[in-house]
Symmetry: C2
Subunit: 324 residues, 2 copies
């Protein structure tokens, strides 16, 4: 029998999970559609999830289930709850970890997806040697997991590490959180597309992106245009990188990280974002932190980072139980 | 014999130190003038400091020296060094902890003064029950010590926790660090006096502060005017509180603190600063953190906080050695 955990990633559309060993190898994965249960009671969804997990376990009889790690929006590590998640149909406080633990009989731990991703990077990725770093996930939203002295910063309520909702432009763009000028409003997919529109409106240079209906534009298409030398595309990523660099120059004051690790669709733009990011970071950071902060891409495979992150969460928890 | 530590606070003008027991009682204190040694070799200053400490110890034969805690500008906890401190005459990297340890034969630990103050508050003050809080010292500069999960955040290089140099107004006031718009440029003594000048220039209401030569104005005099109902003084503190509230709303995203503890001359303005601070904080913080963050005054006596903080640093260190 091989000691195995389940890593689960809960998104508004899909829930995916995998059987993961202690080296970070995903032995098998599966999933259910979160949205298919939207109209029903939360317990119906949890029951369906547990059944799907039991099926996967039955197919892998050599895997011994030792724990369950869950990455979920607004996940509270201390209570094992999902709390008022904007993109899930179930509102209020959902005691998911307890429900999973009772049904599957294995210790369950839950945090938000960006925190889980940071742990995944620390156990299996580019942060193996790092004790102080910030993981930033650039996608539909901008998430972050902040590691200090080898420990994830959870804060007193479990909700620390929301760099995406730190303000970068006072009275700036409207953010989905109801406030204005958050980093997320500039560095999420929606934010980058809005920057593209602004660049198109203020710069007359011809661009393949100008001919395209706005609703068809994606960060991937901007990246492809940038690779072709498209000035508008390059400027869009440069502005995104500058915003990230400005905020990271500020973030250094809090936890003085050795590295910032970027993950997600937008991070794929690579040097188109990282060069202006670094330039802006170094130009704006306090001299105490100058030339000290590395900017690294995530080393985890795109499709697996969420599962590996959740698996890392529970492996770390099991490890901490063992040593105390 | 009573187990005792030395808590030392090194400032640009004076160096003060005290014999402190494990309950945070200062049994005796003394000091030397830092500035008197400015033209000489750093080792001459250290020798004088060690001799003054030995004199104090000789006068208290029941005190057994078990460790030395040092709070110093730009203190590096990992290396025990003072590094490029702007307000000391000795430049470069000064290996003070090692020098003290060699001369006095007791384990020495060093960090910056705001970090030490946070530890002092945790061991002896208003943060005894807190595991996640931010200590902010408002004085000549704005310092901060950030505690997360019961541990001070030092960062990878020992220099984390410089909230005073997080930007609050992009392209705003010139800061002493060379950058623009840092919190320190608004909430330090100099910052508050500059705000007072701006308020006087834009508001014609009569004020006792208007008649006073600019160089005679102090936060204490503004406070006394505010107590008399002086509109200009009240507005000056209100603007200072707003700036602090805005930055703390942002800071919550990083470490989600249960409380913010204010210390220093300007914090003495009490509700004149704390009311607008709270109002601005709650109006601007992400909903995840709303109505969760307490604003508390420091519980440590003004004149002793630096010595108690440095003593807390070494007591905590000795405690961690014991338990590992």
């Amino acid at each position: 029998m091989q000691q195995t955990v389940i890593g689960i990633d809960i998104g508004g559309t899909n829930t995916v999970f995998g059987l993961v060993n202690q080296s970070g190898k995903i032995m098998a994965h599966s999933g259910i559609k979160t949205q298919a249960y939207a109209g029903q009671n939360f317990s119906v969804y949890v029951q369906a999830l547990c059944e799907a997990i039991q099926e996967l376990l039955a197919d892998h009889p050599t895997c011994q289930l030792t724990g369950i790690g869950i990455g979920a929006p607004n996940g509270n590590i201390y209570k094992g709850t999902i709390e008022h998640a904007p993109n899930l149909s179930w509102k209020g406080v959902l005691p998911l970890a307890t429900m999973m633990q009772e049904t599957l009989g294995a210790v369950s731990v839950l945090t938000n997806d960006a925190n889980a991703a940071a742990l995944g990077e620390m156990l299996f990725g580019n942060a193996k040697e790092l004790k102080d770093f910030i993981m930033i996930t650039l996608g539909t939203g901008v998430g972050s997991g902040i590691v200090s002295g080898g420990n994830l910063i959870y804060g007193h309520d479990g909700f620390a590490g929301e760099l995406g909702h730190a303000v970068i432009v006072p009275n700036g763009r409207q953010c989905t959180c109801g406030r204005q000028g958050c980093l997320e409003a500039y560095a999420s997919i929606r934010g980058v597309l809005q920057t593209l529109t602004e660049v198109l409106n203020t710069n007359n240079t011809p661009s393949s992106l100008r001919e395209m209906p706005a609703e068809e534009r994606t960060p991937q298409l901007i990246y492809e245009a940038a690779l072709q030398g498209d000035v508008i595309a390059i400027e869009t990523f440069a502005q995104t990188g500058k915003m990230l660099g400005l905020k990271l120059a500020d973030a250094a004051n809090y936890t003085s990280p050795e590295a910032v690790i970027l993950f997600g669709g937008i991070a794929k733009a690579g040097d188109f974002i990282i060069h202006p990011l670094k330039e802006t970071l170094e130009a704006n950071v306090h001299s105490l932190y100058r030339h000290k902060i590395k900017i690294l891409p995530s080393a985890l495979p795109d499709n697996d980072v969420a599962i590996l992150g959740s698996a890392a969460l529970i492996w770390q928890h099991l490890d901490s139980i063992k040593t105390t």
